[in-house]
Amino acid sequence: MTAVDQRPAPAAEPPPRRTVWAWALLRNSWRQLTSMRTALVLLFLLAVAAIPGSVLPQRAVNAEKVVGYFREHPDLAPFLDRLGGFGVYASPWFAAIYLLLFTSLVGCVVPRLLDHLRALRTVPPDAPRRLERLPQHAAPVAGPRDPAAAAAAAAAGLRRRRFRTVVREQPDGAWTVSAEKGYLKETGNLFFHFALLAVLVGVGFGNWYGWHGNRLLVQGSDRGFCNSVTQYDESSLGPRIEASDLPFFCLRLTDFVATYQDTGQPKSFGARVEVQTEQDGPWKPDEFRVNHPLRLPQANVHLLGHGYAPVLRFTDRYGEQQTKTVPFLPRDQMLTSEGVVQFPDVNIDPKTNKRNEDLQVAFEGVYLPTVDPNGSPTSVFPAERSPALFLTAYRGNLGVDAGLPGSVYALDRGQLANGELKQVSGARPQRLTAGQTWTLDDGSKLEFLGTQQFATLSIRYDPTQPLVLGGAAIGLLGLMLSLAGHRRRVWFRVSPPEASEPGGGGSLMEAGGLPRTDYPGFAEEFEQVVAAVRDERTP
């Protein structure tokens, strides 16, 4: 076994000087850190430390859930937050464990690499004096050739079996053949451990130099978006990336096709888009699906979801018209969708040309692509089989001018609570199908023109993905070599026949074998090798 369990050397003589004492401490700690036992403990710690991240909601995975957790556990949450409980995999203590582990790995693997390189260049050691002491042994058998020729033939046979082989002449006239095989085990093991390092480095740099953004894109050639931070609904850039580093491209959704099973289970989603990859360049058609992202230079566009955006035309009390296309967010599998359409700039008196904040208008409600014939308030199928919009009208101050960023998918509840915004339609929501018009109490009108589809896109770039994948693949190969391989040595001793024997020609051949790693099949292999070499010896 090449792996030696390194333990700190026993404390030497009382150190004469302080610096030496410090040096010894340092050296011992390093030895301790790079021992396999420590690696084992750190591996275990890593596994345990990963657990909280699956129990507590994680900001990086789902920030809304973290907010929910704070609401439900107002006392506990801030405490957990201080410990990094909502960002376990970016927390200092998690990093401490894996950095220690990888320091230990480097400290362990680099010396092993040097040892192995040396071992690859050195020849197998000479045969031990007493081959019968070895785990495998084949008693001497006489053959017709003289020792030198027999040893050469044996060596040739071993080399053919890909053993690294040396032949040595002994002072007593005997010849020995030393052979070793299975260096690939250690090679594979080293590849595996170095590949782990490559993966860690790749993941780290990917975090630094990668970026991603989410964007909800409504169908229509006038609603395209271009790759810049301001155009994302949500984005995050790695610490080494500036907003100006994002590559240029623009995208518009021309069509979205979804197919469903009869049960409403989705079968397939596909988005047709037009892409522009150079400033003022041509728009090229393309398409992508779930599991088949759009691969652009330095960016991948993934399809995450889709929904409907009702198109609504509002005619205010002075006859001014405004049309808005507003995405309604799906709430369930059947695409029951919720949303709000706000018209802050309406009911402007043409005489004064002044906006009256108390006459702003908004409609809130749900869109059902397929209305339930039995009257339940949810959609019963995700495609638009019998669509209808159910809206409630509000008038008053929407609170959108306060400068606070509000949701575009819900009304400001504060304004409703303080009475500045009032419901102006009946207790039950107004039902609208495409083409229908609803006249409000003050004579203003809302017309439902139809819907457009929208797609939610996740756009990312991770420059080190190939390194991580390559590292993982090499690691796997190394792992398999290491787990399947066996290091073993075989020796032959070919002696001149006993002096007493008549004729004087021929030789005696004895063999021994040593498995250097746990290898249950060694006995069989040894027998085969010995038998084959003996056959070669008798032509």
Partner: protein, 324 residues
């Protein structure tokens, strides 16, 4: 077809149960059996590990013991036969399920457990064919299969349904099939691991439950080596399935190759723990029993991922509650 599958499932569990009863009967009656002797031998004489089980020459056999041996061995053989039958039925369950759904039968937790246990059963029968001497483990293997299949039917049953589009991918098939294969092998690996610990305790003279169970199983070295070989085979498969194919699919589907979703977290934990097992086994100063405990912890984390994560946590992978 879906009904067939459900009925086959019930019959499968019953057949495994019957096989288990036979193995148990052999265990109870067959203390002088061929296998029983192979198992008690190492306590008395030192034998090279992995040597074929042959009765020691100095063994004097009482007349009554011969009859009991035959009865015990007979039960054992019936057990093996039933085990093969159960495997065939089990295969039928999975195939009819796949036909009913018109896709690979591993789209939800119920199907996943059926597939994992099917692989486990196949690996066990393979091991049994190559080394009949480990037959006494059959009791514990079938016990594990019955428990898991029962849990699948009781907790995780899901009617046949199609896959959601995100699961409809080439990498997904590679990802799930390798995880199923490796989980099945880890499952079978956990049985000799547990029995090795029990056997070691028994050899040290411990007699409290569960150590008496170690009375008739194969020699400790044999169990330990079997444990290692199963794990060493499953680990690269699991590495490929969970840490390479899975991320490749996640990248194509969700845009990121790794996102610390609860299922990913627990796959990572299992991988680290199994790596620790292989590591511990290669560390000379760590005892084999300690290493084997780590392997069992690894299996516990796999179970956690299979049941706990699907049922308790919500994530992108939670197809268990999405109804298929």
């Amino acid at each position: 077809m879906a009904d067939w599958s459900n009925q086959l499932m019930a019959v499968t569990v019953l057949t495994y149960l019957a096989a288990m009863v036979c193995y148990a009967a052999e265990y109870a009656f067959g203390d002088r059996s061929h296998i029983g002797r192979a198992a008690v031998r190492p306590a008395r004489q030192l034998v090279g590990a992995g040597a074929p089980a042959e009765p020691p020459a100095d063994y004097d056999v009482a007349a009554g013991a011969v009859a009991r041996r035959d009865r015990g061995a007979l039960f054992g053989l019936i057990g093996v036969g039933l085990n093969w039958l159960a495997f065939a039925l089990h295969l039928g369950t999975a195939v009819t399920r796949g036909l009913a759904a018109g896709r690979m039968p591993w789209g939800n937790m119920y199907e996943f457990i059926i597939a994992v246990t099917l692989v486990g059963s196949a690996v066990w029968l393979g091991v049994l064919t190559r080394r009949p001497a480990v037959r006494h483990l059959g009791l514990f293997v079938t016990l594990a299969l019955v428990v898991l299949l029962g849990a699948a039917g009781l907790i995780a049953y899901t009617p046949v349904g199609p896959l959601v589009p995100a699961l409809n991918s080439y990498w997904y098939i590679v990802h799930v099939s390798t995880i199923i294969l490796s989980s099945g092998i880890f499952l079978i690996g956990a049985v000799p691991a547990a029995m090795f610990l029990i056997k070691t305790g028994h050899d040290q003279g411990k007699r409290r439950f569960p150590y008496p169970l170690g009375a008739k199983v194969p020699a400790a070295v044999t169990l330990e080596r079997l444990t290692f070989r199963l794990h060493a085979f499953a680990f690269p498969l699991f590495t490929f399935g969970a840490l390479i194919a899975g991320p490749l699919w996640a990248e194509a589907s969700w845009g990121r190759y790794w996102g610390w979703d609860p299922k990913e977290v627990w796959a990572f934990i299992s991988w680290v723990v199994y790596a620790a097992y292989l590591h511990a086994r290669a560390t000379p100063s760590v005892k084999r029993t300690t290493a084997t405990w780590i392997a069992l912890v690894g299996f516990a984390t796999m179970l956690m991922n299979l049941f706990g994560v699907n049922l308790f946590f919500e994530g992108l992978h939670s197809y268990a509650n999405a109804g298929g």
